[in-house]
Structures are given as structure tokens and as C-alpha cells.
């Protein structure tokens, strides 16, 4: 079988089997490699071009029948070790392996490690004729495979040399190693992306993935928890936010939610936080109502900055808070509070403060009394009125309708009609004027 195999032109080249161990015994050792008829593989004599003249001569094949192939081995045994200078001299370019055709001379490792008699042991399955031919040293006359060229030329061809130089040119080399692959990849990617369905598929995939990630349990928000002082506000904020759970924390825009929560009048400030456990926590700082503002037909609570807090159904619901009225009253609430504080001695009598013409304040008392305060210096004017009322004059206990302090240098009183009549009568009697 091996002998037959050796005649196969594909196997006749004496090369190492691809990716495997050596065939042993090597069929090529027994049957000589095929030779082109009538032509020796290697003619001795002049050195081949491209080989150092001092190289060992390539033995020729087939060996002479009288054992001529032993000659190189005999030569080898008496060779002294080569001088160092020679090794240095040749080490630069001498090939490590024999170039070609050195069959008997450079023993390969598998060859030398084998027992000697195995070389000539008959191989199983080899025909007697083939064996006889092999031992006689002559191959079958069947031409098989290309004969190795007699002269090995190490020089590169002109084309190979130029290509090699081209390859060593940095620009070409960088382009081929980096630019061209990138271009090819970019071209394929561009061609693929030029179809709309592909682009849609990609965007769809991305959206799907994003959705999948956002719907993971760790991002799920299942409830809301509003902390406010009054349950009404808490409920109001919850309804205002209008969230339907469960939803993903990626869908919650906390800044927006906070703005929405703070758009409720009663809310001064809101803090939002997604707590662990999937709870949206909203902490509310409520506005504290400072006064009641009669705004037309309705009553509104306003805080100390004049901001509306809530609607009030009846005045009696918050009887503790002072009442203000008139257009533009909440804007001047700081002045109103100062006036309210200054009017502490007559607080029990005050029904409210009225903003007149968005300029000045009137203090409305019971018994239809009214104190008209100036635009500037209202506080001092009120204090004067309070002082006149609390002191010996007891101004407000008298039959006065209006205390007009609009001209602080000239306070004016308006008396009731009866008081006026009485005053006239008194004056007349005092002067002794005749009655009319």
C-alpha cells in the first residue's frame, strides 16, 4: 500500500506530512523518489548559482549501485569541527535547513532516530517488484511529479522584489494594514445601512433594548408617598402629579414633577426622591396662611409673602387671622402686617384693612369707623391715631366716622350727623347766638 502511495504524484515530494507525525517507516526511503527519465537530478561540478561555493555539494540521486551514497557519510566522520570564523562567516545567510535535494546527506531527525535495519526492512504490503527496484536504487520509470530544479536560486524575482519594497513603504503598508480594512468595513456597513428597513430594525432593536433595561425590577416605581402637614395638601399634590403606577424610574422627570407639585398654591417647596423599594417620596413644605384676603366675592388665605394659599369658605373658619381687602392688597401684605401689629391696642375693634386704589390703606373698625392712612408714613399715622384713641382723648370711642390721616400734618375727623348737630348747638349756646 505504501509503495503504491509513493507513486502518487501528490505524495512523491519528500516533505513532512501536513500537521502530523512522520510516517514510519517512510515509504520514500524505500522507493526512490521519481526522477524524470534520462536526466540526473543534480549534476556535480560547478556550484549552483546562488549557493556559496563552500557549501556541501548536494549529493545526487539515485545513488550509485555500488553504494556511492555512503561517500558523503564517510566524509562526515573525519571532518573536524568547523572553525569559528567559518561559522560566523556563513551564519548571515546560510539557510538552516538544506535547501533542496540533499537526500542522503542531511539526515532528518526521524531518519536518524530509527534503527538502522528498519531502513531496509521489507515493508508490509510492498510488492516484490517495487522492493527490488528500491533496493537496486532505481525508481520505476513512471514519471511522477515535477523534478526538483537542479539549481536553487535564492534571489527574488524582479516582481517579488518590487512588491516587497512596496510592502515596506510606510504609506502603502499602513494603508493596507489599517486603511483598507477600515474602508471595506465602512463600505459594507454603509451598504447595509442604506436600506431603510435595516435602519428601522436597528432603531427598533435599540428601543426594545432600552425599554427592556428600563423595565427591570430595580427601576420599577410602585407607589407615591407624600409627606405634608395637612392631608388635604398631600392628597392635592398626589392628584396633581397624576401618576399611575407602576412605572419605570427612567420615565419620571423629577424636575418636572417638582415644578408641578410646586404649582399648587399651598405648596411652598417640594422635595422629590425615589427611595429604595420603588417609592416616590414627595416631601412638601406648605405655605403658612398669614391673612385672609377678601377678593371680590371670595375669601382667600394668603401667606406672609402675599401668595395665595387656599380658598376659605367662611370668615369664621379662620377668625384668628386678620382680613385684608381691595385690589393689590396681597402685594402690600408686609405693610398690612406692620399696621396690624401697630394696631394691637385696638385689634379687637378692627374688622379689616382695605387697600384703596392700590396706594394706601384704610383701617376699617366696627361702628362704621374708618381710619384713612396716607400712602407714606402709614405706620406713624396709625400709631398717632392709636395714641389719640388710647390716651385721654379716647378718639375712637367718640362719635367719629372717619379719621382722615391722609395729610399727616392736618388730621381730619368726620363726625356723625348727630354729633355735628350737637356740636353746632353747643357752639351756639356757648357763644350765646340766637336760635334760628
Amino acid at each position: 500500500m505504501s509503495a503504491l502511495k509513493s507513486r502518487d504524484p501528490m505524495n512523491s515530494a519528500r516533505t513532512q506530512p501536513q500537521g502530523g507525525a512522520w510516517l514510519w517507516p517512510d515509504p520514500q526511503e524505500v522507493t526512490a523518489p521519481a526522477v524524470r527519465a534520462g536526466r540526473p537530478v543534480r549534476s556535480g561540478g560547478l556550484p549552483a548559482s546562488g549557493q556559496w561555493p563552500s557549501d556541501p555539494p548536494a549529493p545526487f540521486w539515485p545513488p550509485a549501485p555500488d553504494g556511492g551514497e555512503r561517500a558523503p557519510r564517510a566524509l562526515r566522520t573525519v571532518e573536524p569541527p568547523e572553525p569559528a570564523a567559518f561559522e560566523e562567516y556563513d551564519a548571515l545567510t546560510l539557510p538552516e535547513k538544506p535547501i533542496r535535494g540533499t537526500f542522503g546527506f542531511q539526515a532528518n531527525p526521524g531518519y536518524s532516530a530509527a534503527p538502522a535495519q528498519a531502513l531496509h526492512a521489507p515493508m508490509p504490503g510492498a510488492t516484490a517488484a517495487a522492493l527490488g527496484a528500491a533496493q537496486a536504487g532505481w525508481a520505476d520509470p513512471v514519471p511522477a511529479g515535477p523534478a526538483p530544479s537542479p539549481a536553487f536560486d535564492p534571489s527574488p524575482s524582479r516582481l517579488a522584489y518590487r512588491l516587497n519594497r512596496l510592502w515596506l513603504t510606510p504609506l502603502v503598508r499602513n494603508f493596507l494594514r489599517l486603511g483598507l480594512p477600515l474602508l471595506v468595513v465602512a463600505a459594507f456597513a454603509g451598504a447595509w445601512a442604506s436600506k431603510p428597513e435595516n435602519r428601522e430594525m436597528v432603531t427598533g432593536q435599540i428601543a426594545q433594548t432600552v425599554e427592556w433595561v428600563q423595565n427591570q425590577p430595580m427601576f420599577r416605581v410602585t407607589g407615591i408617598e407624600v409627606e405634608a402637614r395637612s392631608p388635604e395638601v398631600a392628597l392635592g399634590v398626589e392628584q396633581l402629579l397624576g401618576l399611575s403606577f407602576p412605572l419605570s424610574s427612567w420615565d419620571l422627570d423629577l424636575t418636572d414633577l417638582r415644578a408641578r407639585a410646586e404649582s399648587l398654591d399651598a405648596v411652598e417647596r417640594a422635595w422629590l426622591q425615589i427611595r429604595s423599594g420603588g417609592v416616590l417620596e414627595v416631601r412638601i413644605a406648605e405655605r403658612v396662611p398669614a391673612m385672609i384676603w377678601r377678593n371680590g366675592e371670595v375669601l382667600d388665605l394668603v401667606d406672609d409673602e402675599g401668595h395665595r394659599v387656599a380658598r376659605l369658605a367662611t370668615r369664621a373658619a379662620r377668625a384668628d387671622l386678620p382680613l385684608i381687602a381691595g385690589a393689590g392688597a396681597p402685594e402690600a401684605i408686609a405693610e398690612a402686617q406692620a399696621l396690624w401689629t401697630a394696631a394691637a391696642p385696638i385689634q379687637g375693634r378692627i374688622r379689616g384693612l382695605v387697600r384703596v386704589g392700590e396706594r394706601r390703606w384704610d383701617v376699617v373698625l366696627d361702628r362704621n369707623q374708618r381710619i384713612l392712612l396716607p400712602e407714606t408714613g402709614a405706620l406713624e399715622a396709625l400709631e398717632r391715631v392709636v395714641a389719640m384713641s388710647e390716651g385721654a382723648q379716647q378718639l375712637l370711642s367718640r362719635d367719629v366716622t372717619i379719621v382722615d390721616m391722609r395729610q399727616p400734618v392736618r388730621p381730619t375727623l368726620r363726625l356723625t350727623a348727630e354729633a355735628m348737630t350737637e356740636l353746632t348747638r353747643n357752639r351756639t349756646e356757648t357763644r350765646g347766638a340766637p336760635r334760628r
Binding site: P47, G50, L75, E88, S155
Partner: protein, 444 residues
């Protein structure tokens, strides 16, 4: 002469350009081997000049990054005999070196020993123009050197000013800026056959490489094999190559004589092959392994298998003694040395103050050559190896690589040549222009 001046200047510009680019190849195209080294300039990590290190003659400037050697083909006596074959060998060496260096080279500096090198000593003399010697005076004195008849079809390869004389003071290396009246100059001129050079340049051009410089092998191998003292005091470097044996004499740091003998190691191999009727390759092998020049009693007993593949058993079983081999090699080596002796006598080597002879080249590795050369050439003989340059492969430190290592030095630190100085102003085209400008200024 102007043509040569221009071509040498063009090569010098190419060399500068290549050095600016950083990579240049040096090639030794010899009879036995074609070697190529690729030098990278500005990348040496070796010692730098100036910090406890003396003048390194430009060696610190470069590093060898690629080397390739192949056996030469188609070359006889250092000259191209078969252009295509030589081209293949050059391609092989260049490609190996480029592969090792991982870069391509476009410029190469060549050295060769063929072309029948002849050397001439010239001298010139001028009165200097001002009271001090200027660059222009140097150019004038170089131009005033009387040109010998170098023969038809020959070209100047090197023209190096080796000595300047100012009035009565001789031995000046750089007279610029010195006061004096009469400036003289000695110049060494080396001529080669034009065709040989043209062939080499054409061969390199076919390999897509521009020749950026040419140097004679004896000169560069002398630069590599002689140490500085020997170059100063006077010495002869003998480069024993395959086809030629070349000879150069140095004194005061300059080459003053160069010559070649068309005999070399290949002739010894040929003798062995002819006498023993064995193939040339076998003869080369026997010569390299067993060769020698002095026979001892032991050599009679040492038998060398010749081998052969003639098919004749008796012929292929022959052995010779080493004495016989020495007997073949010795006369030829003697002939080479006698020839060299004759050339040295012609050059007047006997009159030099120091008579050091340095043998280098691949042929100088024959055992016993030292003793034999000492008998023929004089007592002061030594074997020379090339100087060490940064990055040189171990395999290229053998004596056979003296020429190419010297060529590296030459590339990094070229000696001033005649064409490195400007043409004197009288010959230059700027003069009429100047006169026109003067006329213009005077009249307007």
C-alpha cells in the same frame, strides 16, 4: 571635469537627502560576496561624542538596522561580468537587509575594488587674494592642481586634499583663516574605469535604488581596519578579497596611495580545484576548513577526504594530506604577497616613518598568513578586523566585512573631497551677474 564635479555633487546631495530621511544602504559588491547594510541615522543609543568620549568620526550618528549577505554572482575581479546575475545577487542582499530592517531604502552607497584603480599625487600653488586664507583660496588652490592625463574612459573616484602648504609651513590640515601669501596643496586623486562604474550604477538602478555615493574598496577597508594611530603614523591596509587584493596606504589620516592586484582567494581555490581535479565548491570547502600556509609534521599524517560524485569509486575515495593542500596554496599566496610587495615598493612604502601592514579581508583568514606576510612585507604585520559600529551583526564582524564597515564610516563622516569646495568665483556664473549689477549701479 565639470561634468564629474556636477555628478559627484549630485551624489553628495542625494547622500545628504537620504541622511535627512534617516535611512541609507551601504553595499559592498565584491567578487566573493555581495553585502548590504542599512544604516539609520540619528537613532544610535551608543556613546555620544563629547562626554568623556573622544572623536568618534561620526560613528555615534548611525546604527546598523539591517544586514544582508549573499554570495555574489556574475562578478569577476570586482567588476560586473554578467549584469543580470549581479542584479539578482544585489536584489537578494538588499531584500534580506530590508526585511531585517523592516524599511525600504532608496539610496545606496557603493564600494567596489574593480576598475583598475590608479592613484596620482597632484600639487597646486596659488597666491592668496587677501592677507588671510579664505574658502575661495582653498577652492582656487584645489583648482590649480595640475590634472594628470588619467586616460581615456577613466573617471576620478576620489580627489582628496591631503596636505596644505602655506608659505614655508607644510603639514597643515586646515589653513583657513591663517595669514600667508602663497598657498599650496597636495591632492590625492584616484581614478577608475568609467564603464565599471557605469555598470554598477546601472545595476543598482535596475534594482530601483539610487547610487548616493561611490568609494574605492581599499580606501574604505583601510578606514575600517586601521586604528587611528596607524592612520596617523602611516600604515598599509591590504584587503584580500575573492577576486582582487587591494592595497591602500594611509598617513596623517589621509589615504595617499591605493592599488589593486587582480589576484585573490578565488585563485587559490581555483588552484586547488585544478590540481586535485575536484569541483570548485569542494575546493572552496577544503580550503576554508583545512587550508594553511605552513606545513608541520602533523600535517603529513592528517588526511583529508576529498569526496566526489563522479561515479568512479577510486576517484571519489581519494584523500590528500594537509601538507599537499598547503603545498598547493602556498605558492599562490606567495605570488599575491610578492605582487603586493612590488606595489608597495612602487608607492615608496619603505620611506614612510612607520611601516605597519594590516591584513584584512576574507582571504586573510588563512592560518599562517601572518608569518608568511611578515617574511615578504616586513616585520610589522598584523591581522585587522573592522572597527565595531553600533548595531553591526556578529556575523558581519569578520575581516571580510572591513570594506562595508569602512563604508558605513565613510557615509557618516565623509572626508573632504575636491568637489566639496565651491567652484572658484572666476569660473562661476555669479561673476558676470555681479558685473552687470555694478554697471547698473554706476550708471543709474
Amino acid at each position: 571635469m565639470t561634468d564629474l564635479y556636477e555628478s559627484q555633487r549630485a551624489m553628495r546631495n542625494l547622500r545628504r537627502q537620504a541622511m535627512q530621511r534617516g535611512v541609507i544602504a551601504v553595499m559592498d559588491i565584491g567578487t566573493h560576496k555581495v553585502a548590504c547594510l542599512i544604516l539609520k541615522f540619528g537613532a544610535s543609543d551608543g556613546p555620544q561624542e563629547g562626554f568623556g568620549v573622544g572623536n568618534m568620526a561620526g560613528q555615534a550618528a548611525f546604527r546598523v538596522i539591517g544586514a544582508g549577505t549573499t554570495c555574489s554572482r556574475g562578478i569577476r575581479f570586482g567588476e560586473i561580468a554578467a549584469m543580470r546575475e549581479t542584479e539578482r545577487a544585489v536584489r537578494t542582499a538588499l531584500q534580506n537587509a530590508q526585511k531585517m530592517a523592516q524599511t525600504r531604502v532608496d539610496h545606496a552607497i557603493l564600494t567596489f575594488s574593480g576598475g583598475d584603480i590608479r592613484s596620482y599625487g597632484l600639487e597646486g600653488n596659488v597666491e592668496i587674494e587677501a592677507d588671510r586664507v579664505s574658502e575661495n583660496d582653498i577652492a582656487r588652490v584645489l583648482d590649480a592642481c595640475d590634472t594628470p592625463d588619467i586616460g581615456h574612459g577613466r573617471e576620478v573616484l576620489h580627489a582628496q586634499p591631503v596636505n596644505f602648504v602655506l608659505d614655508h609651513r607644510s603639514g597643515l590640515s586646515d589653513p583657513r583663516g591663517q595669514a600667508g601669501r602663497n598657498l599650496g596643496c597636495d591632492m590625492h586623486l584616484l581614478s577608475v574605469g568609467t564603464d565599471v562604474v557605469q555598470n554598477l550604477v546601472h545595476c543598482l538602478k535596475r534594482c530601483d535604488v539610487e547610487v548616493a555615493g561611490l568609494a574605492a574598496a581599499p580606501y574604505v577597508s583601510g578606514r575600517a581596519a586601521l586604528v587611528e594611530d596607524e592612520q596617523e603614523l602611516g600604515a598599509a591596509a591590504i584587503d584580500m578579497g575573492g577576486g582582487t587584493t587591494s592595497l591602500s596606504i594611509f598617513i596623517k589620516g589621509h589615504m595617499i596611495y591605493a592599488d589593486t592586484v587582480k589576484l585573490g582567494g578565488d585563485h587559490i581555490t581555483g588552484d586547488i580545484a585544478k590540481v586535485l581535479t575536484i569541483p570548485y565548491s569542494t575546493a572552496e570547502r577544503i580550503k576554508t576548513l583545512h587550508g594553511g600556509l605552513f606545513a608541520t609534521g602533523q600535517d603529513d599524517r592528517q588526511r583529508i577526504e576529498i569526496g566526489g560524485n563522479s561515479g568512479d569509486w577510486d576517484k571519489d575515495r581519494r584523500t590528500i594530506t594537509r601538507t599537499e593542500l598547503i603545498g598547493i596554496m602556498r605558492p599562490r599566496m606567495g605570488e599575491i604577497l610578492e605582487e603586493l610587495r612590488a606595489r608597495l615598493d612602487i608607492a615608496g612604502f619603505d620611506h614612510l616613518p612607520s611601516q605597519q601592514v594590516v591584513l584584512t579581508g576574507g582571504g586573510s583568514q588563512v592560518p599562517g598568513l601572518l608569518e608568511m606576510a611578515a617574511r615578504v612585507l616586513g616585520t610589522q604585520v598584523r591581522l585587522g578586523r573592522p572597527i565595531r559600529v553600533p548595531g553591526l551583526p556578529q556575523a558581519a564582524t569578520a575581516p571580510g566585512y572591513s570594506a562595508i564597515v569602512g563604508l558605513c564610516q565613510y557615509a557618516a563622516h565623509p572626508q573632504d573631497e575636491w568637489w566639496d569646495f565651491d567652484i572658484p568665483a572666476q569660473m562661476f556664473a555669479a561673476r558676470p551677474l555681479k558685473r552687470a549689477m555694478k554697471w547698473f549701479r554706476d550708471n543709474w
